[in-house]
């Protein structure tokens, strides 16, 4: 197996009294597209800045290619950052912005720099823009220049701090594809920070979910989406109905739980709650879009009354009252699409859409 490119070992960071990063450990392989995902204030940007060297760490270590870089100044680390506001130098042309890195390091001759800058401009599809000033560019164009300015240095890792945050929705979706392509094309390791789950799911090889300075789950987009390991992740990623339920019976590979008056079976092979732990009260989390509404009785289903129907073109969002608990179902198609408020219906779900989660929070479980 290939050596880890970047290793974070029990990294801790404080701002005065506040504990910003708590024992962060993470290994990143060469060529990966890793996304740090979490709500604002979870420490993801701070972690990125620690890797860049713009913030120091109080304890732990950061290894790049097996060597500690935690005491190196940012200009001595072979990582480059694409800043949230792009931070293009306003007094330099696009060309001079991109050439800034090679010129300041004085290792490349000016005629080679010229060739490299032109290559970069081509890579980010901005040929012919070399003479413009940053203020003459649109947000998306500045973004591309910021990426080119970082990539020209051939960094081991490119750090991107919410780079699409300032763009409008359409451009953001377009740039997601562009970035993912660029990453494959340059074979550079990307560490990408965002609070947008769709961005994370769309682009990453692996997603690191963070909250309150801790890593909660690391996995492929499919993995974190389907097999969330904690209540926080289940709630944060995807749209789920999350209900507190009572365990009535436990079997080898499933648990019977009681929601309202219905007793339903939930498979436990992918859940964080193993049958032997399946005790007392647990949380049931079911993806809204993996549920289905039916007027006929179905096995292993919930029974309730439709209270609201939101028609949104490609999808229908139906709210059902199940013995006082509100359950939301998102359907892209169904034979019965003329739901009326007050109709009595059965709700079933795909087995892999439902998981059980333990009640205690992640902190008490100690990782």
């Amino acid at each position: 197996m290939k050596e880890q490119l970047l290793s974070l070992k029990k990294v801790n960071k404080f701002y005065d009294e506040a504990h910003i990063l708590k024992d962060i450990s993470l290994d990143i392989k060469d060529g990966e597209f890793i996304t740090l995902l979490g709500p604002s204030g979870c420490g993801k940007t701070t972690l990125l800045r620690c890797i860049a060297g713009l913030e120091s760490i109080e304890s732990g270590d950061i290894l790049l290619n097996g060597e500690s870089i935690k005491d190196l100044a940012p200009n001595k680390r072979n990582v480059n950052t694409v800043f949230q506001n792009y931070a293009l130098f306003p007094h330099l042309t696009v060309f001079d912005n991109i050439a800034y890195g090679p010129r300041i390091k004085k290792v490349t001759k000016e005629d080679e720099i010229k060739v490299k800058v032109d290559e970069m401009l081509e890579l980010v599809k901005m040929e012919g823009y070399g003479d413009r000033m940053p203020h003459q560019l649109s947000g998306g164009q500045r973004q591309r220049i910021a990426i080119a300015r970082a990539l020209i240095n051939n960094p081991d890792i490119l750090l991107l701090d919410e780079p699409l945050g300032a763009l409008d929705l359409k451009l953001r979706k377009y740039m997601q594809t562009e970035l993912a392509l660029l990453q494959k094309q340059t074979k550079t390791t990307f560490i990408y920070v965002t609070h947008d789950q769709e961005e994370a799911l769309n682009m990453s090889d692996r997603i690191v979910i963070m909250n309150e300075g801790r890593i909660l789950q690391v996995g492929s987009p499919r993995d974190v989406y389907n097999n969330s390991n904690s209540l926080f992740v289940a709630d944060f990623i995807g749209d789920r109905n999350i209900k507190e339920v009572e365990v009535v019976e436990r079997k080898e590979d499933f648990c019977s739980v009681k929601l309202g008056k219905s007793i339903i079976d939930i498979r436990t092979d992918r859940s964080m709650v193993k049958p032997n732990e399946c005790d007392g009260k647990v949380y049931l989390a079911i993806h809204m879009d993996k549920m289905k509404i039916s007027y006929d009785k179905v096995d292993n289903s919930l029974y309730g009354e439709i209270t609201f129907v939101h028609y949104a073109g490609s999808q229908i969002r139906t709210e059902v009252d199940v013995d006082g608990e509100k359950v939301t179902v998102i359907e892209y198609q169904n034979d019965y699409d003329n739901y009326r408020i007050g109709d009595k219906v059965y709700i079933s779900w795909e087995e892999n859409g439902a998981i059980l989660l333990p009640k205690e929070d992640i902190e008490k479980r100690g990782n």
Partner: protein
């Protein structure tokens, strides 16, 4: 839609007092000075209303050109020294937290609360033959007879720098304060050391503040006359003293006017250069 004259008058009404003020107290006097500069005077000092360029021709006399040169050098050096001392002060101040920052700015502004004439006298107490510095040095046996610290070009320069440096510090402070710190981080990130980042990013981006500060220091340095009177003792003649002498003791107001116009032209030249330097800047003075 085009606004009616009445509406526009209403809108601009608040500008009327300042307009009247400027016309009465700046415009008309300036016009009189210009007019006066083309007249001459008789032996008693009365003004002779005869148009001529004689006063301006006199200005080209090497003796007078020397005075222009002295003042010009004094103003340039005042600007330079203020910049060299003021930049680090401003840079350091802008990097502090809010509380210490306000305190330092207060300290920088504090001298303005005392009459500048008094403060200039203060320097004579410090620098005089029997002054604090000489006494201290003699007491410490570093020298055995008082140094001649007063009444030379350096003394005047010290005085003008002291008097005008707050303008430089505040101007640069404003520029440094506006500097986007993420640009500095971007430079470090791209491989720039602190020193290189300063010269490649910080300095160019705070140039508007430097240009503004330099202009704000240069212009008064050209005309301040009480500092060179008190600290220079008339050993080096500067424009301000010259004009003052001509207008008062010399009783030659027309010639004084012509020199005043000459000085104004010199200031305009500096402002012109400044406007070129800060052409692309949003924080321009003009």
């Amino acid at each position: 839609m085009k606004k009616s004259t009445k509406e526009r008058l209403k809108q601009n009404a608040p500008a009327v007092p300042i307009l009247v003020y400027l016309i009465l107290l700046v415009g008309i006097p300036l016009l009189l000075v210009v007019l006066l500069s083309f007249f001459s005077r008789d032996s008693l000092g009365n003004i002779v209303f005869e148009l001529s360029f004689d006063n301006y021709k006199k200005m080209l006399d090497p003796v007078y050109l020397r005075v222009f040169f002295n003042s010009f050098i004094l103003a340039i050096l005042t600007g330079l020294i203020s910049l060299i001392i003021g930049y680090p002060v401003a840079y350091f101040t802008a990097g502090l937290n809010r509380k210490s920052r306000s305190f330092l700015i207060l300290l920088i502004m504090l001298p303005f609360w005392i009459s500048s004439l008094l403060r200039t006298y203060g320097w004579t107490i410090l620098l005089g033959k029997d002054g604090l510095i000489n006494n201290a040095l003699i007491f410490l046996r570093i020298i055995d007879k008082p140094l001649n610290l007063m009444y030379n070009f350096g003394t005047v320069l010290t005085g003008t720098v002291y008097m005008l440096i707050p303008y430089m510090i505040i101007s640069i402070y404003n520029s440094v304060d506006k500097l986007d710190r993420s640009l500095l981080e971007a430079s470090y990130d791209l491989g720039g050391s602190k020193l290189k980042t300063f010269f490649k990013i910080t300095l160019p981006l705070t140039m508007p503040g430097i240009a503004r500060g330099y202009t704000l220091v240069f212009i008064p340095a050209l005309g301040l006359y009480y500092i060179s009177d008190l600290l220079g003792g008339g050993n080096t003649m500067f424009l301000g003293n010259l004009i003052n002498n001509m207008a008062t003791r010399g009783r030659n107001k027309p010639l004084a006017s012509a020199f005043a116009i000459g000085m104004i032209l010199l200031v305009l030249l500096v402002l012109f250069i400044y406007s070129k330097v800060s052409k692309n800047s949003k924080e321009s003075l003009l």
